[in-house]
């Protein structure tokens, strides 16, 4: 195994400029969508007084949850000392930062008064998990930045492990915080469960790694860098475990809720007759985002590398789709189910009491959400263009400590 050499990408090809232009355009349209929403007010969106958090929040929460997961690769390398992961660490840190910034931007731009961001940054209510999250997010950016510096500056390398440890612990707390946002909604039956925080941690491991693999493959492919089978197989295996854990916690979440008699209604709604939410749950979240990747990732040893890489990509895409559906079902589905002010009574009012609420996302919301994704992509693209995040090669011979040169891998 050789010393890893990192380099910027060239960024001179037409493809680079095309990608940059597309991402910039999408980001810009995200900002335009936000301006439009702010100018007219939220009535032009699908959100209303029943479904107060809509598609932008699904995007934001998905990105933020994935951000902390994307950092895992770095943690495994530096904190847990797995040498094959070490060369992947810098890129992992960059992706984590980019995902968090993308998600936070969406979250902030959806506020009723984004112009008062300064208020959010300067006045805190310390009983609010939301306020703590602001600290956690800002802190995460700082911690990861320091961690990256420790990794990238040779003289600082010896502190990388400590910084990595801090970052790892920080991200666990951060995801717990994000999950707890829902745990604090005492009266919302769908969220009334202690499992929310561990579930979110599991989700972050899985979504974050899936996105990491996708973006890494794209970056290597786009810049003509080799990426070996050994590392892909390892990442795939790990991803499989994470997917299984998410499925497990999802099962626990719904089973414990079924156990509580007063929550039978909302469980029935999500699992059986919730229309779009039921379809998303069983079809996309469980089948596409859970079972399919498990099948792809735990097949008996792949016949040849081409198939394995393609299987891995499909698995990752499926996990992303399933993860998005999962966040959608949690955020929107949980709000669609009506609050129960008077158990055992039939209720009706002019304010949608006792009624399952409708939500149809609007174009500006989608634009804003996609803008956040594009911003993430833009940050990654500029990051690897100007700084040395990517190893020149991830070929097995270069990074696998167990590599045997007699094998005829390319």
């Amino acid at each position: 195994m050789k010393r890893t050499i990192y380099s910027e990408i060239d960024g001179k090809s037409g493809r680079f400029y095309l990608l940059a232009a597309v991402l910039a355009a999408l980001t810009l349209s995200g900002f335009v969508a936000a301006l439009y929403m702010e100018h007219y007010g939220h009535y032009i969106t699908g959100m209303n007084n029943q479904i107060v958090w809509g598609l932008p929040h699904v995007f934001a929460i998905f990105l933020i949850v994935a951000a902390s997961g994307a950092l895992n690769v770095a943690s495994i390398g530096t904190v847990f000392g797995k040498r094959i992961y070490k060369p992947l660490g810098r890129f992992s840190g960059l992706l984590a930062l980019a995902l968090l910034l993308g998600g936070l931007t969406v979250l902030v731009l959806d506020l009723g008064r984004p112009d008062r961001l300064i208020v959010a940054m300067t006045t805190y209510n310390f009983t609010s998990i939301f306020a703590w999250n602001i600290y956690l997010y800002v802190g995460f950016i700082g911690v990861v930045a320091v961690y990256l510096w420790m990794q990238m500056e040779r003289r600082m390398n010896r502190y990388a492990r400590a910084a990595g440890m801090l970052a790892f612990l920080w991200r666990l707390v951060l995801t717990t915080g994000t999950g707890s946002i829902f745990g604090f909604l005492v009266a919302r039956e769908a969220y009334d469960s202690a499992i929310m925080a561990p579930l979110f941690i599991a989700m972050s491991f899985s979504f974050g790694l899936a996105i990491y693999v996708l973006v890494l493959l794209a970056a290597c492919h786009g810049s003509g860098r080799e990426i070996g089978d050994a590392v892909l197989r390892r990442l795939g295996r790990l991803l499989g475990v994470f997917v299984a854990v998410v499925l497990y916690f999802t099962a626990v979440q719904h089973l414990t809720n079924l156990y509580a008699a007063e929550h039978l209604g909302v469980e029935r709604f999500i699992l059986l007759d919730g229309g779009i939410f039921t379809v998303l749950f069983w079809g996309v979240q469980v089948t596409v985002g859970g079972l399919l990747p498990l099948l792809l990732l735990f097949r008996s040893p792949p016949v040849n590398s081409v198939v394995s890489a393609r299987g891995l990509v499909i698995a990752c895409l499926a996990i992303v789709a399933g993860g998005f559906a999962q966040v959608y079902v949690i955020v929107i589905g949980g709000q669609a189910w009506p609050l129960n002010l008077f158990p055992d009574r039939e209720v009706s009012s002019s304010f949608y009491d006792g009624v399952i609420s409708n939500y149809s996302p609007s174009l500006p919301e989608l634009g804003l959400g996609l803008g956040g994704v594009a911003l993430t992509g833009l940050i990654v693209l500029f990051g690897i263009r100007i700084l040395r995040f990517l190893p020149t090669t991830l070929a097995d011979s270069a990074i696998d400590p167990n590599f045997v040169s007699s094998a005829d891998k390319s």
């Binding site: 910039a24 900002f31 301006l35 990238m152 500056e153 500029f382 263009r385 700084l387």
Partner: protein, 150 residues
């Protein structure tokens, strides 16, 4: 972590892009209040003899007084009138063409007279009424007026 030249240029371009975006965003802000074309602000005279403090003091410190009053009223229910925004609006009402007081959408509105000139933006009137309440300060006072007539 040395940066090469083109990397520096890329960073510079990115920063410039970001800055120009910020400018665009601020410029497109919802309040399209046109800048006053007059070189010096023509500040309409308030009613009565004098303001709630020295005129000079008011010119420089009205924002502090208002912010303070805002918190006192909002958080503690203190309803003194001296620095109340409602009272500023009542006393500084400016007559428009149709004899009624102009709202803040009119550049002649007292609070806009020098804000436009000084390019100060306030959001207070997104919520607060910029005109005196039509039937006096509160419906209650409307009752009073009727009672006094009888």
């Amino acid at each position: 972590m040395r940066l090469n030249r083109s990397a520096m240029i890329t960073i510079a371009v990115a920063l410039a892009l970001f800055a120009s975006l910020a400018v665009v965003v601020t410029a497109a802000e919802k309040n399209d209040r046109t800048m006053s074309e007059v070189p010096v602000p023509a500040i309409p005279q308030g009613q009565g003899e004098r303001c709630v403090e020295d005129t000079d003091f008011m010119r420089r410190n009205h924002m502090t007084l208002l912010m303070h009053q805002r918190d006192d009223t909002m958080l503690q229910g203190i309803r003194t009138k001296q620095y109340s925004l409602k009272e500023c609006v009542n006393c500084h009402a400016v007559q428009g063409k149709d004899e009624s007081a102009v709202s803040v959408s009119d550049p002649k509105h007292f609070c806009r007279a020098c804000h436009d000139y000084a390019a100060v933006k306030i959001d207070c009137f997104e919520c607060h009424s910029s005109r005196p309440e039509i039937d006096a300060a509160s419906p209650h006072d409307g009752l009073i007026a009727e009672m006094l007539k009888e």
